[in-house]
């Protein structure tokens, strides 16, 4: 039994209405943008729905868009409905000044380390996470390295001029 993008959107907009902000289908994968407040609830609906069955959390990560003021950080999840063989991308935006979003650890055991990694690199506070610590970087690091303001190399170096070679 296959499901379609329309079916998913219809179900979600019936429940969440205004909270679903946008949807698109870049390169053949349905992408839904929604307000961060409904993050956990929306994923729970997708997981527990009898026909949709998005019971597999493929991936969770974040992206930093520093120019998008007020909604700088995007939290992106990829869900997979194994039974319907349907992949879905979920995105919600939070602000850099208050990077807080609900944790998915109650829904998926595997979200634990994925969220720890996202916290480690982007400083996102996953509320309700049982053990939100750094995972790959050293514990005493006092910044979140994947944010765009941190350069890869020491910016005071003069021997490497990348002006002509892009960023």
């Amino acid at each position: 039994m296959a499901i379609s993008s329309e079916q998913i959107l219809e179900k979600l907009s019936a429940v969440y209405g205004e909270n679903i902000l946008a949807h698109s289908e870049p390169f053949g994968m349905l992408k839904i943008e929604y307000k961060a407040e409904i993050h956990e609830e929306l994923v729970r609906t997708l997981r527990d729905d009898e026909t949709l069955k998005f019971r597999f959390l493929t991936d969770l990560c974040a992206v930093h868009y520093p120019d998008d003021k007020g909604r700088e950080i995007a939290v992106v999840c990829h869900l997979h409905s194994l039974e319907n063989n349907f992949r879905l991308r979920l995105e919600c935006r939070i602000s850099e000044s208050k990077p807080e979003i609900a944790s998915l650890t109650t829904l998926f055991a595997g979200a634990n380390w994925m969220e720890r990694e996202t916290y480690d690199f982007f400083g996102i506070n996953f509320t309700g996470h049982p053990d939100l610590r750094r995972i790959l970087n050293v514990d005493h690091m006092d910044f979140f390295p994947m944010l765009k303001q941190y350069p890869l190399e020491d910016s005071s170096r003069e021997d490497k001029d990348d002006r002509f070679f892009g960023r």
Partner: protein, 403 residues
């Protein structure tokens, strides 16, 4: 009959018990990589484990944001270095998806040959080293020479063995030479006999079987909740394989089966990998027999680095070379997720391009980072020696774990 403690009447109560703390790793010879686990032990029994990872973290995602697309390939080598070509191919296909480049059938088939060869190498290491950890060293020496043969084939194809950086965006840097075909044919002919011997050495070995049956099990439900993929998920009984679910690189043309286990224990994981090696051999044979004629590269001069010979001799190739290297080519913007069935699970690439020279953001879905978090759950209540076997049977690769 009343139950009596073996420690007699004065046996301490559960809440007063004190456990021993044992530091397993980071550089324990039995863990094959930099893994640290702080174990709470009740005698020989593990009560809980606390893994610490990140010892060889190399900031690949940050690095990738500062490198042109074709220079990201060597980074992917160093994720799962036991099956580097699969990672390379996965990355090339991700970029091709973004660029909407159609590859010729010959490229697809060539890629499948390379990927399946590296899957065999990956599984051979994992299974033979599992034997070593259980004390059966002989099997390892039987098959390790065959891994060498696979690396010889890679060397003949691209000049490198372990971190191969094989292929390019759009296809391959050169066609398979007759020597390569000959080497693969010889491998297909000679390997199965030795492989069967290897399997007989372990699966007809009572001690080995006793050590691995029922060790480190996980249920299908828990495995799915932990986002397991690859042989670990299949050993638990879920027939999820990216090659079948979302066929890439013309996998739909091939006839092969997906082996599944039932209990998700070390024995099932071992058997699933053994069978996968046989299926990979079948796939390679089919690909080689039906290898289509044609070009070994897609028609995309704006992204494919031209051969050096042409750069020096043809104006057009020189222009493209210059444009690609200097980042003068316009890349499409957008976001794309592509995944391939790697040596140990679904290797995913989440690429966001803003049209710039380098990825705006690149996230690697690293299968063993995701399933290694289930390790404490899988080993608690087991013996210390079982923990070693569980880890080596899960095919956790430090490079991929720590990115």
């Amino acid at each position: 009959m009343t139950e009596q403690s073996i420690y007699g009447e004065d046996h301490i109560k559960e809440e007063e018990k004190q456990y021993n703390t044992l530091n397993l790793g980071p550089t324990h010879p039995a863990t094959h990589g930099v893994f640290q686990n702080v174990l709470q032990m009740d005698g020989e029994i593990i009560m809980s484990a606390e893994p610490t990872i990140g010892y060889i973290h190399r900031a690949f995602e940050k690095l990738a944001e500062h490198r042109p697309f074709y220079q990201v390939t060597p980074i992917t080598d160093r994720l799962n270095y036991c099956s580097a070509p699969i990672n390379n191919m996965g990355w090339h296909m991700t970029v091709e998806k973004l660029l909407q480049v159609e590859t010729p059938k010959r490229v697809d088939y060539m890629r499948i040959i390379v990927m399946e060869l590296s899957r065999i190498a990956d599984h051979l290491i994992c299974n033979s080293v599992l034997g070593v950890d259980a004390g059966a060293l002989t099997g390892f020496t039987y098959v390790f020479q065959w891994r060498e043969r696979i690396y010889d084939i890679f060397e003949q194809m691209c000049g490198a063995r372990l971190t191969t950086n094989i292929g390019r965006i759009g296809g391959f840097e050169r066609d398979f030479s007759p020597k390569v075909i000959e080497m693969i044919r010889a491998f297909l002919k000679e390997f199965p006999a030795h492989f069967n011997e290897f399997e007989g050495l372990l699966l007809r070995n009572r001690i080995f079987m006793d050590r691995i049956i029922g060790v480190g099990p996980i249920s299908a439900e828990r495995a799915l909740s932990y986002s397991f993929t690859g042989h670990n998920l299949r050993a638990a009984g879920v027939d999820y394989d990216v090659r079948v679910m979302n066929p890439y690189s013309s996998y739909q043309d091939f006839d092969f089966i997906i082996p599944v286990g039932t209990s998700g224990d070390t024995f099932d994981r071992f058997c699933v990998r053994q069978e996968e090696i046989r299926q990979s051999l079948k796939i390679i044979t089919q690909a080689l027999d039906n290898l289509p004629e044609g070009k070994f590269v897609a028609d995309c001069p704006e992204f494919y680095l031209p051969p050096k010979k042409d750069v020096y001799n043809s104006m057009e190739a020189l222009i493209w070379h210059f444009k690609i290297v200097m980042g003068e080519v316009d890349l499409p913007s957008g976001e794309v997720y592509h995944s391939v069935e790697g040596g140990n699970g679904e290797v995913g690439y989440y690429l966001i391009s803003d049209g710039g020279r380098t990825p705006y953001r690149l996230h690697f879905r690293r299968p063993c980072f995701i399933y290694y978090q289930a390790y404490p759950e899988m080993i608690s209540g087991q013996m210390l020696s079982d923990a070693i076997l569980t880890m080596s049977s899960m095919n956790v690769i430090a490079g991929e774990l720590d990115a």
